[in-house]
Symmetry: C2
Subunit: 245 residues, 2 copies
Amino acid sequence: MAESERFSRISSRLDCSACKVRRCSEWGILRGQDLSLLDRSKVVINYRPGESIYTQGCLCQGIYCIVRGTVALRKMDAMGHSILVRLAHAGQTLGHGDYFGGESHATSAESLTASTVCQIGRNTLRPLLEHNPTLWLKFLAHLADDLRRAEEAILSIAFLSVRTRLLHLLLALKNRYAGAQEEGTIVIALPMTRKDMAALLGTRPETIARTIHALESDGIAAFSGGTVVIPDLNALMSEIEPRKA
Amino acid sequence: MAESERFSRISSRLDCSACKVRRCSEWGILRGQDLSLLDRSKVVINYRPGESIYTQGCLCQGIYCIVRGTVALRKMDAMGHSILVRLAHAGQTLGHGDYFGGESHATSAESLTASTVCQIGRNTLRPLLEHNPTLWLKFLAHLADDLRRAEEAILSIAFLSVRTRLLHLLLALKNRYAGAQEEGTIVIALPMTRKDMAALLGTRPETIARTIHALESDGIAAFSGGTVVIPDLNALMSEIEPRKA
DNA sequence: CGAGCACTTGACAGGAGTCAATTGCGGTGG
DNA sequence: CCACCGCAATTGACTCCTGTCAAGTGCTCG
């Protein structure tokens, strides 16, 4: 592949002070000395689709910041079953839970698209936290949000049908992956396979395929490869919203 | 009830520096000024079984530390379904996720047994965190652990049968609620109702009753009201452990 | 004693998992 | 250029676990 010849694992230098995604992330509050320490110490790594960023059970070396691309966090149990815990996007931080919680990674991170990730090691992180107490708060807020989402995922797996969960997923994907939309019609470019959708909803690929078929029969959504067209968002919404008792 | 006449909502003073559970909690690192600030500022509240400590959606006023008793954290969705997110025991902290993550509580806390809880308000917490950076780390580690457990709960609901999940639950309860055991026989005093066990496993009370019946038929566990007897732990374990492929 | 709740049990239906076969697509190599 | 391989996706057939509805029991409390 021509592109693979041009691919370089370690990026040429990226300037943190000019980094757009930094401002939306935990690192947005850094200034002066701290910012230049971050800039000097970080390691910028490029990943191709499907490549592993870190692996569940392995030693946690630091914290990762996504500059570009979409990353999937997966978790496996003892029997080899695996779920997709969540998707992470540019500007978001990875591995903070593992870094603060224990020595090893509780999940695996895999780049879904071509991605660029900055790795911030322990020795960099420590002085940054000492100089910026606000940074603690940022990570706490992030973790608290992760926890809230995980608890909501438990509720949704326990009580909602696969069909309803899939509709919720489409709604969530719309906010980030919706393309040009014409007169109320919504077009979403799915960032993952059916298999991953199944892993995200805690079900199996076959069930996803069947549910997709049902949605198409009902005219709620039309799937074609990695693209979904939702002709009428209201129809989708009205099926999601809890009926009054 | 005679006891209810003696019940007092606000406790007479408890001395933090003599508090045994404090040493196992986040507050164990506090010394001197900070410790006496905590001691002066905390509010000690007693709860009877079933009483609410805080409610999902309400404003988060601070952080809670359990001195005595067992507390259930519940979460409800828009349709009124509710799960029991986790149990919390003496020495554990409540509400830290909500305090750092947002303005309102993402779960409700309800005392299952007679409990005593210390409330630490925002104005107390702020100076404590400023003087003790380690405290940040403690809360981060606690949240990271909560998150890890929540993710494992998702895995278990998605892939394990109710029967297997119930066995896992018994195993977890054994560590904390197992009473006097004679020659390998394990006796557990359940701290909750069947309904709560169902809410903890993401299923319904009827299914719990049926699964309990099946376990008794198989001689794995004998339920009698709030007591479980497990005659052979190995039989239970061998059903849980993943079979080799 | 009656009300209410926790728990149990039965009958029943349906959603979702499993196994298996088939199709379609993209990449590889001859 | 085309055959072949591997993987994603689909579809069918079938099972059964689990939720739902309903009735009944036993206990506690007022």
